[in-house]
Subunit: 136 residues, 4 copies
């Protein structure tokens, strides 16, 4: 796995539910936020112009296991790293912690695609982007 990048995020009131905890669907939004922060941390954006093409990274699968609830105003540490970089796809692992306690672990697989009027088409990850995302 790449050295994980840590994204810090406070739980907002609108992200809680009537059970008094953060609603689980927000963990998927936060995973994506962390991935995008990872892209920025290496000088990229998840939405990139590349050789006059518009590149994006739709998700083909994602999952999350929940161990301990997150609560309003918690400052989460969201650690995101690449566990595998295939020809066209990236497998991510994301760990959510608060004060050293692990709250949840998520996984996601995203695919490098060109967005056009004709829709989405997967492409091999361009070498320059590959190198920035995973310098190892």
């Amino acid at each position: 796995m790449t050295d994980p990048f840590t994204y810090s995020r406070r739980v907002q009131f609108s992200e809680t539910d009537m059970a008094g905890i953060a609603h689980f669907a927000n963990f998927f939004r936060w995973m994506e936020e962390a991935e995008h922060a990872y892209f920025r941390s290496v000088g990229l954006s998840v939405r990139t112009e590349y050789q006059e093409m518009e590149i994006g990274w739709p998700r083909v699968s994602t999952s999350c296991e929940f161990f301990v609830p997150a609560r309003f105003e918690d400052q989460l540490q969201i650690s995101v790293g690449i566990v595998k970089m295939g020809e066209k796809s990236i497998s991510w692992e994301i760990t959510f912690s608060r004060d050293g306690t692990r709250l949840a672990v998520g996984k996601a697989t995203t695919v490098c695609c060109i967005w056009s009027n004709k829709g989405l088409e997967s492409i091999p990850i361009p070498a320059e982007i590959r190198l920035k995302l995973n310098p190892a």
Copy 2:
């Protein structure tokens, strides 16, 4: 005002917050849902191709007053009508009720625009669309 159109909507768990009630920001999503249901009820979509242009209706202002909280699994009656149709804009009024009790009242002003690569440009509401939205 046009005869109001009623859109029915159940409050979902993900729309509640830790105060045990529907989070206020959802009322703005529900207003928009009701407006779009109104468009469909007259045979339109809020996103329309018109003479090879892509028409949309961005919002320039909106507000809501809250009287009584909405709760999980409440079946809301959302009544939406046009209070004024200007040359380029529509003023909406939206009332949220549950079993005859008025919970909230919202207002919104949306502007008829063409979406293009150059961005948004407001246009006079085309006559055909105007007639469908407000037959009076």
Copy 3:
């Protein structure tokens, strides 16, 4: 698996993203909506008073695979069934379709819990609730 229950849901504008498709995190909100509709279809609510206890069903894990994007105003058919009912937990499978095309498949495991001031405590699924959820 139990006979699947089908919940119908239109994709709303606020659920789309700048890629022009429904944002993936909404599939997790929709899964939960469908589970809760399943509870209602058998005369229960996901939040139940039972012998003066407040019962809820937090999620310990969930996942989704995405095959085809959902788009604005799509009318989704969300089929939800119970694939396994353990002593304390339920495993759900949820299939998202549009006009017979399968868009995505999700899974979730939820645990029967009592909510109290002391927090969450898992309990065996009460026999009455078990029978209603899975009459087979």
Copy 4:
């Protein structure tokens, strides 16, 4: 008005819509985030134990005017100040900017309430809280 407090917030992908801009309902979530950050900046939380009571601040009305769209990855400067503090309520004004350009202006009125099993009850803003929120 109190000296405005500035809260910085990046627009996330899940907050965009198919028009390619931030969905308007998010401005209401961001206003609330900024208000809560204001509370923290003066050593309070919007959810406070006070003399064994649970205090909260539900919203009775809110509005927003939109001038310029916000886009993915924009770093917003959200300036929040108190324009009026009544006996039981606070009137807020919130300005959204990006690189010195004003994108939107919102208003909100929140009421000091006790949350109990019996529901919400408005109370005079306790002197200690009043002094921290508006030291002038």
